[in-house]
Amino acid sequence: MKKIINNKDQIVDDMLSGYIKANSDRVKFSNNSKRIILRSHPKNIEKTAMLIGNGSGHEPIAMGWVGEGLLDANVVGDIFASPSGDLIFEGIQIFKENSGCILLISNHAGDVMNGEMAIELAKEHNINADLLLMYDDIASAPRGNEDQRRGGAGTTFIYKILGALSEMGEKKETLLSLGKFVRDQTRTLSIAIASGTSPISGEKIFHLDDDEVFIGMGVHGESGYGRQKISSSKKIIKFMMDKIFDDYKYKEGDIVIPFINGSGATTLMELLIIYNDVEDYLAQYKIKFFKPLINEYITTQESAGFSISLLDSNEQMRNLWISPSSAPYFHL
């Protein structure tokens, strides 16, 4: 494996150390743990804190999103592994004086189990904390079973919109409601083009032939709509957008926020071509778009691939989407 690291066991800690040093004006470690990333300048305790616990290896999410207008804390797990419920609870405890606390959890087995444990501990300690489960990947479960779906790139909408609203002092219950609404209006579909390498095992994460792509594959190689031969951007986008449109009933005049997320090795050149075709597709159905985000935000090492996420938005969501944030790695 050709990665520039030091000791394998130190990957996460070396990375976080570098991150904090590079952005010390905005982020810092918590006093008791070098796996809890906080804002340098915490939010007013009258506001609801927004936290997430997730595994590393997908940078910049989520540590790169700690900052004003976004997250208050990221509890960082080992590569591809959720942090323990104990550590997540430690993170929640930092905000016990806040008026409320929301723990965002992406729907993956480890994240959910440990997140639920943390919330149980929080409630036992009378901390006003709740969990918001996030899921959006249409390939992982059929319509009607949305809550079985994996959390994918579309969870970004929840992070940003709730981050912005919590900054305005909105209370926890309202934030949770909005979060669920945004979740219900979000659809994501991904495609895998080539596998990256796990820094832990040194092995490829999944296997694809040179001329194959896999639509709907999960970040760790889980299946979706099956393997296909690689074809043009237009053809691929048509396939993917058709699937998204099968899953959610968009109407003429809807305004969607598109997010094209690269998984690490797909060039900006390609992502822009892709976006060009996405917009043509939307135009066909007379659907408008608003402030698209095109970047590599939720990566899987150096995997090639991307996902299309669409949020069927309302005005409130759009305003919150574009409100400013000082998180080191979130830029619209």
Partner: protein, 199 residues
């Protein structure tokens, strides 16, 4: 009991130390290829903590070990596999059979609640539950190591033909059919050493 448990943990460490690459490979098929390395982290910390707590009461030691394993391992395997270690601290030498049965019942109950998993979903439960059934059927007799080993092997082999309903494998094209669940394999190792040291 302390000497039996010491043997259990040290032996488990040795076995996982030599097998973790193979366990990683099993996980390669259905996950990230890191289950072996993860459980190795966990059992390493268990060994260290055990040796540093020889004079403490067993239930306290096992509770500490369970918590640290969970923290060290993280993920789904950390939170689920550490449960047995915690419950195992409640062994009662004077009531061996019934306390072992109790340990298994409580572990299974907690795993089911935490993991929202049941028998046949292709998880570590598919090792624990057949063992519990065997223990209950034979509760009036001395438990025999070789019979339990047979149950462990058979249960593990059975997971091959199961389709995963939980965890990452459930998203695979074939839901992991034809492959042994890596968590079930490491559980089998740990339980084999457990009964090997205790009986």
């Amino acid at each position: 009991m302390h000497s039996a448990y010491k043997k259990w943990i040290l032996n488990s460490y040795d076995k996982i130390n030599s097998d973790y690459v193979e366990l990683d490979k099993l996980d390669q098929l259905v996950g990230d290829g890191d289950h072996g390395s993860t459980i190795y982290k966990g059992i390493t910390i268990a060994k260290q903590l055990y040796l540093n707590n020889l004079t403490s009461p067993l239930d306290e030691t096992m509770a500490i070990i369970s918590k640290q394993m969970r923290i060290e391992m993280g993920g789904a395997s950390g939170i689920l596999m550490s449960i047995f270690f915690d419950e195992s601290g409640k062994i009662d030498k004077s009531n061996l059979n019934s306390s072992i049965i109790d340990i298994f019942e409580k572990s299974i109950d907690k795993i089911m609640k935490r993991g929202k998993v049941k028998a046949g979903d292709k998880s570590i439960l598919d090792i624990y539950i057949p063992v519990l059934n065997f223990l209950k059927k034979n509760s009036d007799f001395q438990f025999k190591k070789n019979e339990i080993n047979e149950i462990l092997s058979l249960s593990l082999a059975k997971t091959k033909e199961m389709q995963a309903q939980v965890g990452r494998a459930k998203f695979l094209e074939n839901r992991g059919l034809g492959f042994i669940d890596p968590g079930a394999k490491s559980t089998e190792i740990i339980l084999r050493e457990y009964f090997g040291s205790l009986l």
